[in-house]
Symmetry: C2
Subunit: 243 residues, 2 copies
DNA sequence: CGGCGACGCTGATCTGCCTCAGTTCATTGT
DNA sequence: ACAATGAACTGAGGCAGATCAGCGTCGCCG
């Protein structure tokens, strides 16, 4: 899997070794391309007529709001991730989706997807694998918020993000570009923005990781992995499981 | 859907109106029945050769342990719920599963399941709906732990459990039998057992709900729903969506 | 140019929940 | 009959992280 291909194909390639034919079938899947600008919700709770998308560029977050105005971000989608694949099939959306940056996304027709699956069945497996990974990420997030301290929690989040970005060619073991504000981090990690700020400073002073000016720089990967008890197998299984 | 049928059929009946033929196809799905006793893990992290089950009686929990010994319970399975349907298809288990009580479960062969789907396709939709509901529950759990206070969080949990039990005929709006200890509640809600104890007392003193001697009694449903901001639509959609 | 909003950052204070260290009660085993 | 165990329960003290209030910097716009 090299840089010629879309992030979506790169990501699936981490689960299932894809042939040239399968990769180009995936690339053909990308339909009409749409652009969304930062901050304006793409989907609201209760909305029913939504489409499914594959993110081509930009970042997006899914969240829920409570009546007191606080919100909880459930997860982020980065290039190569799909949006609403599940809810377009089964229910009205139960959460909001907001672009964090300007976003380009290709609309995916369910009919096209099903057709692709019947022609190249291994792709169905790959997509289901990806969906299962998304679920594992939410579970890991739950564990973080429930049982990890702010510092470990933040470290875990930054590592997971890095691993995901590396998978689609947008980062390396040493760092990545990250458009998230400290407020977004706070809403993700169940902390206050003030505390996130202090935690980031501590991680910096410990020589573990620096997150400044939209860029995450990992200084001590082992130390960070150790602190966060980060186990990346749920993200890429250390290479394709299906050859 | 009446009391003659299995909890599994009752639950799916809440999503898709099932014919007699479909219900009996579901009931035939239950294969070899196994019994597990409380406290002994059924599945460990990393285990690969697991089967899928449908719970006939008893309660089960899925959890993860951290290195400091604390654990986070991700969710409970009650009669009618399936266990490991997803992970049997796609990966080694990334969490542990422990029976809370003695448990009876029917093994489900993937081949039988797929065969049933092709004969009665609406059942496939129903099962996918159920899987999607499970995901929504984990998300709601995440929101609870991230942004709700101990009292609201506990109230929300007790309400969700009640709604789920009612769906399979094991509870009513006024209460249900609940075999969970305060330690299990604590590990679920990201709190300490000590604090759970105080929260339960407060809820009792507020006249909202009593949880004592293995029984949850709801005194003021509206007050509780209000406190927890509980929205049950993600559990049963107020009746079958597909007629 | 000055004003304004976003965002990062910081000190001081407050509080929700944890930890520790028990007691009581019911159940089980010997 | 008496330990042993486990669960519910309680008080005291401590701490992680929230809240409040404020400052500095930057980019944008009229």
């Amino acid at each position: 899997m090299d840089a010629r291909h879309s992030p979506f194909a790169r990501k699936l390639g981490a689960f299932v070794a894809l042939s040239e034919k399968e990769v180009s079938a995936l690339d053909r899947l990308h339909g009409r391309r749409k652009v969304f600008s930062a901050g304006k919700d793409m989907v609201h709770q209760g909305q029913t007529d939504q489409a499914a998308y594959i993110l081509a560029s930009g970042w997006v977050c899914s969240y829920k709001i409570l009546s007191d105005g606080t919100r909880q971000i459930v997860d982020f989608q980065i290039p190569g991730d799909s949006l609403g694949l599940r809810s377009v099939l089964f229910r009205t959306s139960d959460h909001n989706i907001e672009p964090v940056t300007q976003v380009e996304a290709s609309e995916v027709l369910v009919s096209d997807l099903l057709e692709t699956f019947s022609e190249t069945p291994r792709l169905a497996t790959a997509v289901l694998w990806a969906a299962s990974r998304d679920e594992a990420m939410v579970v890991e997030h739950l564990v973080s918020i429930g049982r990890r301290h702010a510092k470990e929690r933040t470290a875990h989040f930054l590592l997971e993000l890095g691993a995901r970005l590396k998978l689609v060619g947008l980062g390396s073991t040493s760092g990545y570009a990250c458009p998230l504000s400290q407020y977004l981090l706070a809403d993700t990690l169940g902390l206050s923005a003030v505390h996130i700020n202090r935690v980031l400073r501590e991680l910096r002073e410990d020589g573990l990781v620096t997150f400044q000016h939209g860029h995450v720089e990992i200084h001590d990967l082992d130390g960070l992995v150790d602190l966060a008890e980060f186990d990346k197998t749920y993200l890429d299984h250390d290479g394709p499981l299906l050859k």
